[in-house]
């Protein structure tokens, strides 16, 4: 067995029934080489303090449950390893910019509403039945949108985005990336419907290209790109409507 070392994990605690402000609590956690921050939290929950609250599920960086601020950086705790922080302590806080429900669990309802607002589903030209078979789509056509379809909705990008922190009305990186994912899909004909979201003050125009969202994305989605290329689309749409008043429909 690898030797067991002890690392200090400092967690932000907040109990909505008794606290008005959060505080920090430290735990001494034995860890081995391959232990993730999540496994450290699980150790605390199982052996030291069953009241520590955090979300997790797949522990392989695909379900998007376990995002938190690890030493100030938005990370998936299952995909962040204690070995990389030892011998210093690890400080774990809930994701920035979201209301905290309890300890490390944040309120994600605002994101879910925003996701819904961008119509993140295929809006086909004409509805067809499965009997008519699949659409044709070449790998190159897929390449136009595929990376944006890889978003796991982990919300690290929202925690990275100061514009979302400053203005909660901003639609935000992941939702706008998904909007673009459908707009860029050759099978979709719903761009005109989604243009309204893009064009609004809180659509792509809420972004100032800080681009930290793309930096922290664990799946290489690059939401900043999805948003900013749509600034050009929105601009075209703005001016073209003067040329063809019914254009785009």
């Amino acid at each position: 067995m690898t030797t067991t070392r002890i690392i200090e994990i400092e967690c932000q605690r907040f109990n909505p029934q008794t606290d008005s402000e959060p505080h920090f609590q430290s735990y001494q956690v034995p860890f081995s080489e391959e232990m993730s921050v999540l496994q450290g939290l699980q150790y605390i929950k199982d052996h030291l303090d069953g009241s520590l609250t955090f979300r997790w599920s797949c522990r392989m960086a695909i379900c998007g449950s376990c995002g938190s601020m690890v030493n100030g950086v938005p990370q998936l705790s299952c995909h962040t390893f204690l070995r990389d922080y030892f011998p210093d302590k690890v400080r774990i806080e809930p994701l920035n910019h979201f209301p905290v429900l309890r300890d490390l669990a944040i309120d994600q309802t605002d994101f879910l509403a925003k996701l819904e607002s961008v119509k993140p589903y295929l809006i086909p030209d004409t509805e067809k039945t499965p009997a008519q078979g699949t659409y044709l789509q070449t790998p190159q056509q897929m390449d136009e949108y595929y990376q944006y379809s890889e978003c796991i909705n982990c919300l690290l990008c929202y925690a990275a985005c100061p514009q979302y922190g400053l203005n909660k009305e901003f639609t935000g990186p992941a939702a706008l990336a998904l909007l673009h994912r459908y707009n860029a899909d050759s099978r979709d004909a719903g761009s005109a419907e989604r243009m309204e979201v893009i064009n609004g003050e809180n659509g792509v125009w809420g972004c100032t290209l800080v681009s930290y969202c793309s930096e922290v994305c664990p799946k290489g989605v690059d939401p900043a790109r999805a948003i900013n290329q749509n600034k050009i689309n929105s601009t075209k749409d703005y001016f073209l409507r003067f040329l063809q008043p019914r254009g785009g429909k």
């Binding site: 029934q17 209301p99 390449d143 136009e144 800080v210 930096e215």
Partner: protein, 135 residues
């Protein structure tokens, strides 16, 4: 214990957010470059005004440019505009749709490099243009 109907929510305040992460500091520095770009545009505007007033006035403007304070200001401005230029090209790929050349997606690094190359070429041209007018 009864289920609480109204729960506290805690939202971390945004005060001083840009100090929380070096990435944000660099971003704020980039945004701050705008002040220097505005100031420089005003310097040019001032020069244009002096130019419209005649040779003596224009020479006064030129003399003001040579003061240590002005040199210091332009030194800082040059650095800030240079930083602006660097960040501008670095994020340029994010503002563009995917560009396909011969069925292959153009890598972001190539877009950044072409932007920087264009800046270098145009800057060299500008320099030569000014240099060629020496008497």
């Amino acid at each position: 214990m009864p289920a609480p109907n109204l729960l506290n929510r805690y939202t971390r305040p945004m005060e001083g957010w840009w100090r929380r992460n070096p990435f944000y500091l660099w971003y704020m520095l980039r945004e701050a470059s705008c002040v220097f770009i505005i100031a420089y545009a005003l310097v040019l505007l001032c020069g244009l005004y002096r130019l419209s007033q005649g040779e003596a006035a224009f020479n006064g403007w030129l003399a003001a440019l040579a003061t240590p304070r002005s040199i210091a200001f332009h030194g800082i401005t040059a650095m800030m505009v240079l930083y602006h230029a660097w960040t501008w090209f670095k994020v340029m790929p994010k503002t563009l749709p995917f560009i396909h050349i011969g069925g292959k997606r153009m890598p972001d690094a190539a877009i950044v490099t072409s932007g920087l190359a264009a800046a270098v070429v145009l800057s060299a041209l500008l320099f030569v243009l000014v240099w060629s007018g020496r008497s």
